[in-house]
C-alpha cells in the first residue's frame, strides 16, 4: 500500500483542496447528463403507468395508439417477459407489468414516437382494462392480510423477508443490567429527490450491438439486467453511465425505462430516449423505508450497555429492490458505535401497494440510529448522566470485533465527540436533566448524537470471488496518463479521487490525467456508486495500478541514470534521484524510457475487501473494510405556540481517516447535514389516507425539502484517524454524516421544550400535540406505542467473539431450549 512506499515524499496531492477535474465543465453547463444527449434520428418513449394500486390486467388495447401518426411502436409486458431485480433473491420486477400492477405508477405499456408530445398523446390512447384487487397500504395490514398476496414469493402472505439473529444471550444481558428500557419509534419514508430526473437513451446499432447511456449509479448491474431481460450476450451490450445529476441511492436499481428504451431501439432500429417526469421519479422512488422499531436495551448505572434487542418492521412498498439488504442493515450497525456485548436482531419487511423502497443515503441505518440515539438520551436522563459523557465512555474499541462479527478498524469517535462538545460549548448550554435552572431559555435546546457507517459493503450484491473494483492505467509516450475505471461520478467526486490518487503516486498533476469512467466497453468493472464504497475501493485499486506503472518507470529511469532503484522518486512531473534531485528526467521522458524497455505501458489494479470474520447466514450485510464515525450537536429553537422547530446550528465532527481532498469532504459533510435536516424536519413520502394509496405529493413543491431559508449553519470538524484498509488511510464521508443529524435534533427538541418526538419527521403538529398532552399532565411524547405481533423464526444463534465464538451459527438443538 502506498502509505508505506519507499522514497516517501510528502503528500503533494492527497489532502489538498484541488478543484474537481470536472468542475469547469459543470460550471459552464457543458457536462453531458443523460437527457442532454441527442442522437440523429432519435425518437422518444413515454411509459403508461397504472393508476390502480393493485389490480389484474385483463386486457390492453393499443390499436388507437399504434394508428396515431408519428408512433413507431407500442410494447407491453408480453414483449419483455423476463423478470429482473437488483438482488438475486428478489428478481420480482418486469419492465412492463404482465398480469398485474402493484402500485400507482407501475409501468404497463410504452409508446415510442417521433416526439415527446406525440408519444404522450398516443400513450393516453392505450386502453387498459383492470380488475381491482384489495390493496395493502400499511405494515400492520401487510402483516395481517395474507390474501391477496402482492407477490407469490417471500416469507408467507405479504411478508417479504423475516430475519432473526442472536449474538450471545441477550436475556442474560438484561438480567445483569441496572436499567432496562424498551422504546418504540417510527421513521417515515422519504425520497432522494435528485435534481436530475432519470433519463436513458439506447441505440441498437448497425452492428447489432446495443449501447445505452443512462443516469445510473450502477452501470455494471444495469449491464447484467439488460443482458438477462433482453436475452442478449452481455458482450453485445454497452452501458455508459452518464454523470448523475444527483443520485443519493435513487439511481442504484436497474429501471424499467432503461430496459424499455433498449427494447424499443431493438424494434425500431432508431435511437430511443426516455426522460422521466418529476412525477415519475416519485414513482421510481427506492427511497428510505418507513420503519417501525422497538429497541430494548439493558445498561449498567454507568451507562454501559449489557445487551440490546432490536426489532424493525419495514414497509417495503411494491417490490423487493434492495429490501432484503435494507432489512439486514436496520439491524447490522447498532454494534459498531458503542460497545454492545450481546445483541439480538429481528427484522421483517413487508410488501405494500406503494412505490418500492430501497437504498437512500445511509441505507437502512438512519432509522435504527434514530431509535438508538434517542433511547440513549432517555437512558442518560434516567441515570442522570450527561448525554455526551454516556456516549464518550462506552465507545466500541478500535481494532476489535463486535458481538455480530464486524471488524472495527480505526475509530475516531472519541475525538469527534470531544470536538463537537467543545465547539458547541455544550457544558455551558446543556442544562442537565433537571430543568429548574436552565442554561438556555425555554424553547432553546441542544442535543447530541453519534453514528458510524460502512466504507463499502464487504460482499458484492451477487455472489462472486472477483474484485469489487478494477482500475486500468494507460501511459502514453507523450506523458499522458489515462485512468479507466467502472466507477460513476454522481457528484461525490469519484472521478477526481481517481485523478488525485494516481497523480500522487506518479508525481504528476491531477489535471494531467484523463479520466474515463463508467463505460462497460472501456472500463474494468467497479460495482457502482453505492454503500460509500468508491473512494476506498477504487482508491485502493488505483494505488495498485499506479504503483505498478511507477515500478516500470522507476526501473527504466534507474537504468538510464545509473541510480539505484531505491533512490528514484517521482514528483512535480519528474522522475529523479532523491539524493541529487537535479539528476532526473521529465515524466514524459520516463514513459518513453519505460516504453522502450518494456513495450506499451498499461497496468491494472484491483481491490477485494478483506474476508469477514462472520460465517453465519446473514453475515453478508454489515462487514466493511473500515467504518467512519461521526458526532453531531444540534442547537434548536422551538416555538411552543406553533410547534415549529428551527435548527440554528449543527456542529459535526467526522472521522474521515484521511481526507483525499478536504474541500470535497467538507462538501459531503455539509450535504449530509442538509439531507438529514430535511429528513428530520419535513421530508416524507405521504399517501392519501383513503386506501387508494395515491402518492400525496408527487411534486417538488409539495414534497417539502430544505431551501436556503431552512438550511442551518454548520460547523464542521474533520478527524483524521487513518485506517490501514483505506487508500492513504481514507474512509467514507458520503453517507455517514447524515446519520447523527436527525437524533441530535430530536434530542435538542427535548432539551428545548421537554417533549419527545419519537417519530420522524418532527412536524410542528406533533410537537404541539405532545406539548398539549404534557400540559395536561401526560408524558409529552409523540410516537408509536406498540409494534405488531410477528411470528418470528427461532433466532439463528451465534456465540460472540468474547464468548469464544468462531462466527458460525450454533447448532439449533439443545442450546437455550
Amino acid at each position: 500500500m502506498s502509505n508505506n512506499r519507499k522514497n516517501e515524499e510528502p503528500l503533494r496531492v492527497v489532502g489538498k483542496p484541488f478543484r474537481k477535474v470536472d468542475a469547469r465543465a459543470k460550471c459552464m453547463g457543458q457536462t453531458k447528463f443523460a437527457d442532454d444527449i441527442v442522437l440523429p434520428r432519435m425518437i422518444y418513449a413515454k411509459i403508461l403507468r397504472s393508476h390502480h394500486p393493485h389490480a389484474l390486467i385483463k386486457r390492453i388495447d393499443a390499436s388507437k395508439a399504434l394508428a396515431t401518426p408519428g408512433v413507431f411502436a407500442v410494447i407491453t409486458g408480453q414483449d419483455l417477459p423476463n423478470s429482473y431485480g437488483i438482488l438475486p433473491v428478489s428478481q420480482d420486477e418486469h419492465a412492463l407489468c404482465i398480469d398485474k400492477v402493484r402500485f400507482i405508477g407501475d409501468p404497463v405499456a410504452a409508446v415510442v414516437a417521433s416526439d415527446e408530445d406525440t408519444a404522450f398523446d398516443a400513450m393516453n390512447l392505450i386502453e387498459v382494462e383492470y380488475e381491482n384487487l384489495p390493496s395493502i397500504s400499511t405494515i400492520d395490514e401487510a402483516l395481517l392480510i395474507e390474501e391477496p398476496r402482492i407477490h407469490e414469493y417471500g416469507d408467507g402472505g405479504n411478508i417479504h423477508k423475516k430475519v432473526s439473529l442472536e449474538f450471545g444471550d441477550v436475556e442474560e444481558g438484561f438480567a445483569e443490567a441496572d436499567l432496562v428500557r424498551e422504546d418504540t419509534f417510527f421513521y417515515e419514508g422519504n425520497t432522494h429527490l435528485p435534481l436530475e430526473q432519470h433519463a436513458a437513451i439506447a441505440y441498437f446499432d448497425t452492428d447489432n450491438k446495443l449501447t445505452i447511456w443512462s443516469s445510473t449509479q450502477t452501470p455494471h448491474y444495469v449491464h447484467r439486467a439488460l443482458a438477462k431481460v433482453l436475452e442478449l450476450p452481455a458482450s453485445h451490450v454497452r452501458v455508459i453511465a452518464t454523470p448523475n445529476g444527483g443520485g443519493f441511492g435513487g439511481k442504484s436499481d436497474p429501471f424499467n425505462h432503461e430496459i424499455i428504451v433498449c427494447k424499443l431501439s431493438m424494434i425500431t432500429g432508431r435511437p430511443v430516449k426516455c426522460t422521466l417526469t418529476r412525477e415519475e421519479v416519485f414513482y421510481c422512488h427506492r427511497g428510505r423505508h418507513p420503519v417501525l422499531m422497538q429497541v430494548k436495551t439493558g445498561v449498567k448505572k454507568d451507562g454501559s450497555i449489557t445487551g440490546m434487542h432490536f426489532k424493525s418492521f419495514l414497509d417495503g412498498g411494491a417490490y423487493g429492490s434492495y429490501g432484503v439488504a435494507s432489512t439486514f442493515y436496520t439491524g447490522a450497525l447498532q454494534t459498531v458505535t458503542y460497545d454492545v456485548p450481546r445483541y439480538k436482531f429481528q427484522g421483517v419487511r413487508v410488501f405494500t401497494n406503494k412505490p418500492p423502497c430501497g437504498p437512500k443515503r445511509g441505507h437502512g441505518t438512519p432509522q435504527p440510529r434514530y431509535a438508538v440515539e434517542v433511547q440513549l438520551d432517555k437512558i442518560a436522563e434516567q441515570l442522570a448522566l450527561d448525554p455526551a459523557q454516556i456516549r464518550r465512555q462506552h465507545l466500541v474499541k478500535p481494532y476489535s470485533v463486535t458481538a455480530n462479527y464486524l471488524r472495527i478498524g480505526s475509530m475516531g469517535l472519541g475525538k469527534c465527540i470531544d470536538k463537537v462538545v467543545e465547539g458547541s460549548d455544550w457544558k455551558s448550554k446543556f442544562s442537565g436533566w433537571n430543568k429548574e435552572n436552565r442554561k438556555l431559555p425555554f424553547g432553546k435546546g441542544i442535543g447530541i448524537a453519534c453514528s458510524s457507517y460502512i466504507c463499502g459493503a464487504g460482499l458484492p450484491i451477487y455472489w462472486n470471488s472477483m474484485p469489487q473494483s478494477g482500475v486500468q492505467l494507460r501511459l502514453d509516450r507523450q506523458g499522458g496518463v489515462c485512468v479507466m475505471c467502472g466507477s460513476i461520478d454522481i457528484g461525490q467526486g469519484s472521478d477526481s479521487i481517481l485523478a488525485y490518487i494516481v497523480a500522487e503516486v506518479l508525481g504528476i498533476d491531477p489535471f494531467d490525467i484523463r479520466i474515463v469512467t463508467a463505460d462497460t466497453d472501456l472500463t474494468p468493472v467497479d460495482l457502482g456508486s453505492y454503500s460509500s464504497r468508491v473512494t476506498l475501493m477504487t482508491g485502493n485499486a488505483a494505488i495498485q495500478a499506479a504503483e505498478r506503472a511507477r515500478e516500470l518507470l522507476v526501473m527504466a529511469v534507474s537504468e538510464k541514470l545509473g541510480v539505484p532503484i531505491e533512490n528514484i522518486s517521482l514528483a512535480e512531473r519528474r522522475v529523479f534521484d532523491v539524493e541529487n534531485p537535479d539528476v532526473g528526467v521529465s515524466f514524459a521522458e520516463a514513459v518513453v524510457l519505460a516504453e522502450s524497455k518494456f513495450g506499451t505501458i498499461g497496468t491494472v489494479g484491483s481491490y477485494s475487501p478483506p474476508p469477514s470474520p462472520g460465517k453465519f447466514k446473514g453475515a453478508g450485510v454489515g462487514p466493511s473494510p473500515a467504518y467512519s464515525y461521526t458526532a453531531a450537536v444540534a442547537e434548536v429553537d422551538v416555538d411552543p405556540s406553533t410547534g415549529i422547530v428551527v435548527v440554528e446550528r449543527i456542529w459535526i465532527a467526522h472521522d474521515i481517516g484521511q481526507s483525499i481532498n478536504p474541500m470535497l469532504v467538507m462538501g459531503q459533510v455539509e450535504g449530509s447535514v442538509y439531507m438529514g435536516l430535511g429528513e428530520i424536519l419535513m421530508e416524507e413520502m405521504a399517501y392519501r389516507g383513503n386506501r387508494n394509496v395515491v402518492h400525496k405529493f408527487p411534486s417538488m413543491l409539495e414534497y417539502k425539502s430544505p431551501t436556503t431559508m431552512e438550511m442551518c449553519d454548520v460547523k464542521t470538524y474533520l478527524i483524521e484517524d487513518a485506517d490501514p484498509n483505506g487508500p492513504f488511510g481514507a474512509k467514507e464521508v458520503g453517507q455517514g454524516p447524515l446519520l447523527p443529524v436527525p437524533p441530535a435534533v430530536a434530542n435538542a427538541v427535548y432539551d428545548a421544550v421537554g417533549v419527545r418526538i419519537d417519530e420522524v419527521p418532527i412536524m410542528p403538529e406533533k410537537v404541539l400535540k405532545a406539548l398539549r398532552e404534557k400540559a395536561k399532565g401526560g408524558d409529552g411524547r409523540y410516537g408509536p406505542d406498540s409494534v405488531p405481533g410477528v411470528e418470528w423464526p427461532p433466532p439463528m444463534r451465534v456465540l460472540t467473539p468474547a464468548e469464544g465464538g468462531d462466527g458460525r451459527e450454533m447448532p439449533r438443538v439443545a442450546v437455550h431450549s
Binding site: D22, C27, F33, V38, G491, M663, T716
Partner: protein, 176 residues
C-alpha cells in the same frame, strides 16, 4: 397534437450576446426551445413546473424560470443562458469560485444558481450572507447544503469588487 399546433413559429432575439433566430412549435417553453431547438443543453430541468429553480436563465438581465416562459415571449428580448456566462474561454468569477470551492457537486443545479447569483451581484456587489440566502431561495440543491454555494458567491463578490480574498481555512479543512 393537431397539425396546426405543430406548425412552427419563428422569433428573433438576442441569445448570449448574439443576434439569433429560431423556429419552434408555438406551445414550447423557453426551456424547451433552448434545449431542443437550439441544442443549448446547459439549461437544466428539474420539474418543468416552476418548483426547483434549475432552469433559471436571465431575460433582459433578470432571472426567470425558463420552464414557465413561452419561447414566443422571448422574441426581441435579451436571453442569457449558462453557455453565455463565460467571456470566451475566460470563466465568469462566479464560475471560477463555484469550481474552486466545490459549490458544484453533481453540477446539475449549478447553471441555475450561477445565473441567479450573477443577477444578484450585478444589483448588489456586497451582499450579506442573509441577502445571498434570500436571493437563492428559489433554487433547490440536493448535494451541497448550500454552504459552499454561499461561500462561492461571497468569494466571487469580493474578487469582482477587486478585493483579494481566499476561503477561510475552516471552510476548506474544517475547524481546528
Amino acid at each position: 397534437m393537431s397539425e396546426t399546433t405543430k406548425q412552427k413559429v419563428h422569433i428573433r432575439f438576442t441569445l448570449n450576446g448574439e443576434p439569433s433566430e429560431v423556429a419552434f412549435a408555438p406551445h414550447k417553453t423557453l426551456l424547451e426551445v433552448l434545449r431542443e431547438d437550439l441544442n443549448l443543453t446547459g439549461t437544466k430541468h428539474g420539474c418543468e413546473l416552476g418548483e426547483c429553480g434549475t432552469c433559471a436563465v436571465l431575460v433582459d438581465g433578470r432571472a426567470i424560470l425558463s420552464c414557465l416562459m413561452l419561447g414566443l415571449d422571448a422574441a426581441e428580448r435579451d436571453v442569457k443562458s449558462i453557455e453565455g456566462m463565460a467571456d470566451g474561454a475566460q470563466l465568469h468569477p462566479l464560475q471560477e469560485t463555484f469550481a474552486d470551492t466545490g459549490a458544484a457537486q453533481c453540477g446539475y443545479c449549478s447553471p441555475g444558481f450561477l445565473l441567479v447569483a450573477e443577477e444578484l451581484l450585478k444589483k448588489n456587489p456586497s451582499p450579506t450572507r442573509q441577502v445571498i440566502k434570500e436571493a437563492l431561495s428559489g433554487n433547490i440543491c440536493r448535494c451541497t447544503g448550500y454552504i459552499k454555494i454561499y461561500e462561492a458567491v461571497e468569494l466571487a463578490a469580493a474578487r469582482m469588487r477587486g478585493e483579494e480574498m481566499e476561503l477561510p481555512r475552516e471552510s476548506v479543512y474544517g475547524y481546528e
